[in-house]
């Protein structure tokens, strides 16, 4: 675990980090954070696995149709603890990005994830997920093979697991395609990651007909997709600090911060019984948004039936 981490850390610490720190603004705007979340050199799932997970063994395929490169799944060790891992991988080079469909999973990716969820439950392995997708694939093939069904099934499956689940939002958390990895006991979010029901571009196109830079920035702010807003809304549980200037300026430091947060929550969750873990997760999701509920009769309320 430590070797890769230090090596990469030294390589990327030189100069860049210090510069970023010197000029770092106090608080970034929503759209500035989105740009960091999408930064081409931002660390992705496989880099965090290199840094955090020892003896990673990747599994492949959904046993139904194919193997989806947009989802990485496997087994390994977090410290001395055997764990199961699922994450989205967007790819770095053009060739890799195409092979991984830019991190937009097909249904078979979610069904591969489901296999690991079931393995984790059967063998009592804590599950760690890494969320980094603009959204699930939306092409004809994805519709034909039941993208909706695949995502829905994962939501229910994650709800049932009797092991600790820790989700880490490390880049973009795009809608249902992200949530299919996100029904966790603890949802950690990196400082500059985003998590949203729709992309700012999609929202801007709907609300203002045109996704100009200005409209996209407005949409990003209006949707409250940044970590501090989501913490306040109760959608996430903790913000994991990034190096000043963003995770890509010092990947090793970013990984150390994330590993520390995962480790801390894992230790806490492992003290609970399997049934308690499921129940706690249920309570957490059952409560989301309820602080904003009001009670009232509509003036012209109709009786039906």
């Amino acid at each position: 675990m430590a070797r890769t981490l230090q090596h990469r850390g030294k390589a990327s610490h030189n100069g860049k980090h210090a510069d970023a720190q010197a000029g770092a603004p106090a608080a970034l705007s929503a759209i500035e954070r989105v740009r960091l979340a999408r930064h081409p050199s931002r660390p992705q799932t496989l880099e965090y696995l290199d840094a955090m997970i020892a003896e990673f063994f990747e599994i492949h395929g959904d046993r139904r149709f194919s193997d989806d490169g947009a989802i990485v799944a496997g087994l390994g060790y977090f410290g001395k603890r055997p764990v199961a891992i699922v994450g989205q991988q967007r790819g770095r080079t053009t060739v890799e990005r195409i092979a991984r469909n830019f991190g937009k999973p097909h249904p078979e990716g979610y069904r591969k994830a489901a296999r690991i969820y079931e393995l984790a439950d059967r063998f009592r392995l804590p599950l760690i997920t890494f969320i980094d997708t603009q959204g699930a694939e939306s092409g004809v093939g994805a519709e034909e093979r039941g993208q909706h069904e695949a995502i829905a099934r994962n939501l229910e499956l994650m709800a049932r697991l009797e092991v600790p689940i820790i989700a880490c939002v490390i880049g973009e958390g795009g809608s249902g395609g992200a949530l299919a990895l996100g029904v966790a006991n603890v949802v950690l979010m990196q400082e500059n990651a985003s998590y949203s029901v729709i992309t700012p571009e999609g929202c801007a196109a709907i609300l203002w007909r045109e996704a100009t830079d200005e409209n996209v920035a407005r949409a990003a702010a209006a949707l409250k997709i940044s970590a501090p807003d989501l913490l306040e809304l109760g959608v996430i549980d903790e913000i994991v600090p990034e190096p000043a200037g963003g995770a890509h300026t010092a990947p090793a430091e970013a990984a150390r911060n994330l590993a520390a947060a995962v480790g801390r929550h894992l230790e806490r969750l492992l003290k609970r019984t399997p049934a308690e873990l499921r129940a706690a997760r249920e309570r957490k999701f059952a409560a989301i948004g309820n602080a904003h509920l009001t009670h009232g009769r509509v003036e012209n309320a109709r009786t039906i039936g």
Binding site: G135, E137, S138, G139, V140, A142, E143, E144, R145, G146, Q147, H148, E149, A152, R153, L155, E156, M158, A159, R160, S175, G176, L179, G182, V183, S196, V197, I198, G202, C203, I206, L207, W208, A222, L223, K224, L230, L233, V235, R281, E282, F285, A286, I288, G289, N290, H292, L293, T294, H295, G296, R297, V298, E299, N300, A301, R302, T303, I304, G305
Partner: protein, 292 residues
């Protein structure tokens, strides 16, 4: 995922509601499928199905309930739940203003009605989504009401039927609306553990976050004929695929052919079919739990 995205993608003529704003001018209704003009009363008497070609017009919640549950058996629940303005969201108008208008127009607080009723004397819990209320979009209230009705059914040992009609998650409530997909799925998992049946009936349209959560999680997934059912909006799919869309793309018949539905049930057979399925799937509690 957001409702407008899918709404726009629906072919504009696909499913106009039969009732117009001024009933007196609306003696006739034109079918978007066969283009034939029919006497409106005749269409209504035919459960809002085109007498000429069988096109299924969208139903209001009241219409749906009246042709589904036993007369006098319906009891609505959690009707008082409403939402404030969690994001302080403003598009062309502030969210509270938009909601107030939708509430006044519909006479209800949000886009789903849940309650208890009977079908052919079998008690059950029921949810009916209201597409006329902001495109049936799912925010916190929709998620909470559905979760509550699933939980109530689990406690009381009742089967659940949900009629979906929704463009997906409600953008104006941001990530909170996304999380409702998980909230309802959590409740469905418990119902399933209790060996109680959940029948999902997808109506036109069922898309986005609703399709990608409870609508697809039925023990049996049913749909009305010709309903638009999909994950992504048509426009988005076109952009992504860069190819012509197959015939019937994202319609019930397409989903049935691809193995995503158990059956397409015409409206005239829906109540009877649901009763039949409940008769097969429901048992007295003692048998279900294996206890005496």
């Amino acid at each position: 995922m957001a409702r407008e995205e899918t709404e726009q993608s629906v072919p504009s003529a696909s499913s106009q509601p039969v009732q117009a704003a001024t009933p007196r001018d609306d003696i006739w209704s034109k079918c978007p499928t066969c283009k034939e003009i029919s006497f409106r009363k005749e269409v209504e008497r035919n459960l809002n199905v085109c007498p000429k070609c069988g096109h299924h017009f969208r139903l209001t919640v009241a219409q749906r309930l009246s042709i589904t549950v036993d007369r006098g058996s319906w009891r609505e629940m959690f009707a008082e739940l409403a939402i404030d303005d969690p994001l302080g969201f403003v598009d062309s108008k502030p969210y509270p203003k938009r909601m107030q208008q939708a509430r006044e127009a519909s006479g209800r607080n949000d886009a789903v009605v849940v309650g208890l009723g009977k079908i052919e004397d079998r008690p059950l819990a029921l949810g009916v989504m209201d597409f006329e209320f902001m495109g049936g979009s799912m925010g916190v209230v929709v998620g909470e009401k559905l979760a509550r009705i699933f939980n109530l059914a689990t406690r009381r040992g009742l089967p659940v039927i949900v009629f979906s009609a929704s463009g997906g998650a409600r953008m104006q409530e941001g990530a909170l609306s996304l999380m409702q997909m998980a909230k309802v799925s959590v409740a469905i998992a418990r119902l399933r553990d209790a060996r109680l049946p959940y029948l999902s009936v997808m109506c036109d349209p069922t898309t986005g976050g609703v399709a990608a959560s409870f609508a697809m999680l039925g023990d049996l997934n049913l749909a009305e004929p010709g309903a638009l059912i999909g994950f992504a909006g048509r426009r988005v799919t076109l952009q992504t695929s860069n190819q012509e869309l197959p015939e019937n793309f994202q319609r019930s018949e397409f989903l049935l052919a691809h193995g995503m539905l158990d059956a397409i049930v015409p409206r005239h057979q829906m109540r009877f079919t649901l009763a039949r399925l409940l008769a097969i799937l429901t048992r007295p509690k003692s048998i279900r739990t294996g206890r005496k």
